[in-house]
């Protein structure tokens, strides 16, 4: 379970300025931390839109973090392709993997988990899949590393 307050505090201390999201039911628990924390929260209407806004912030010298569920990630492919591979901007995404834990134990027919990793690979996005033992600090560490290297990166949170 990722603590929203720890995550927001850690990302802000690492230099992040904005948090753009379309929440899912797991990341939605971070709402209060985001609403009251030091990052500027931008609620997007669609996941591709959140990536476009993040692209503008990055162009303008700021440091956004984008969060979405894998369903929205599937929709956002063209925006993601453009910002990462045409504009070469270091987009950082926190991605909720719907039904992933149930899928690994054979308890779901949801097709989302089947496609997430192949699509991440198809878009040539470096990523890591965390497990339930990981903490907010692990996400922050990945953020720091990605920003230092000025590379796009995706942290996947199994749900």
């Amino acid at each position: 379970m990722i603590c929203g307050h720890d995550l927001v505090k850690g990302l802000a201390e690492a230099g992040a300025t904005h948090f753009l999201w379309v929440p899912d039911s797991a990341m939605g628990q971070w709402e209060e931390a985001l609403r009251t924390g030091p990052l500027r929260l931008v609620r997007a209407t669609r996941e591709g839109e959140s990536i476009g806004i993040a692209g503008g912030l990055l162009l303008g010298g700021l440091q956004p973090v984008v969060a979405m569920q894998c369903t929205g990630f599937f929709e956002a492919g063209d925006a993601l392709r453009n910002i990462v591979h045409d504009l070469h901007l270091p987009l950082f995404v926190i991605l909720g993997l719907r039904s992933y834990q149930a899928y690994r134990s054979g308890r779901t027919t949801d097709s989302c988990p089947i496609f997430v990793e192949p699509i991440l690979c198809a878009w040539r996005l470096p990523y890591v899949v965390l497990d339930i033992q990981h903490t907010a600090g692990d996400i922050v560490d990945h953020y720091k590393r990605a920003w230092a290297e000025q590379k796009a990166f995706v942290v996947c949170l199994p749900e």
Binding site: R46, G55, L57, G60, P64, R81, L87
Partner: protein, 188 residues
């Protein structure tokens, strides 16, 4: 009104604001302005121009951003109007409405000639909206529309230009980003 004449009016008023051009406006804008504060969003993700402009406007609220967006592009992500209204960036979203997908051969966009874009923008929560159908009215109203607090939504009805090819950005993307960042004082 003529597309180029409409953009020449914007060039007179843009001051030190960033101007983001998309799709069919890329080539036209580069004929009327060569500022390092111009950003031709090509190669693009069609429909993401307003979102990109909004991000830049949030990053540089004192300077502000003018975004030139086609009707086909805006229709791909109408939801961004709601996000713009909520975040209130200093942004002037100029809709260049020719009623058609100009680059692909002039097929009409959905709802061409029927959709009321200022009503949609106002309904999304953008308080300042304008519509200009003729160059004369645009010239007369541009001073008010292009100044003051954002966000502002400006709907310009322009003539469809048959035979337009795929637009080309004046510089490669990496060079555009470098020029813009230097002009913004972000990098050397």
């Amino acid at each position: 009104m003529d597309h180029k004449a409409a953009l020449e009016v914007i060039a007179l008023h843009r001051g030190e604001r960033i101007v983001i051009s998309t799709m069919g406006s890329v080539g036209v804008w580069s004929e009327v302005s060569q500022s390092p504060l111009d950003f031709a969003y090509l190669p693009s993700s069609m429909g993401q121009g307003p979102a990109l402009a909004m991000g830049l406007a949030l990053a540089h609220p004192q300077r502000g951003v003018i975004a030139l967006v086609g009707d086909g592009s805006l229709l791909m992500n109408l939801g961004v109007l709601v996000t713009i209204a909520e975040q209130k960036p200093r942004m002037y979203l100029v809709l260049i409405d020719n009623g058609a997908y100009e680059i692909t051969g002039g097929q009409p966009v959905p709802g061409a000639g029927v959709v009321d874009y200022t009503m949609i923008a106002k309904g999304a929560g953008i308080a300042r909206t304008y519509r200009f159908d003729t160059l004369e009215k645009w010239m007369a109203g541009s001073q008010e529309a292009l100044h003051g607090l954002g966000p502002v939504f400006i709907w310009l009805k322009v003539d469809y230009r048959p035979g337009q090819g795929t637009p080309r950005a004046p510089f490669p993307m990496d060079e555009q980003i470098r020029r813009l960042r230097v002009a913004l004082g972000i990098s050397q």
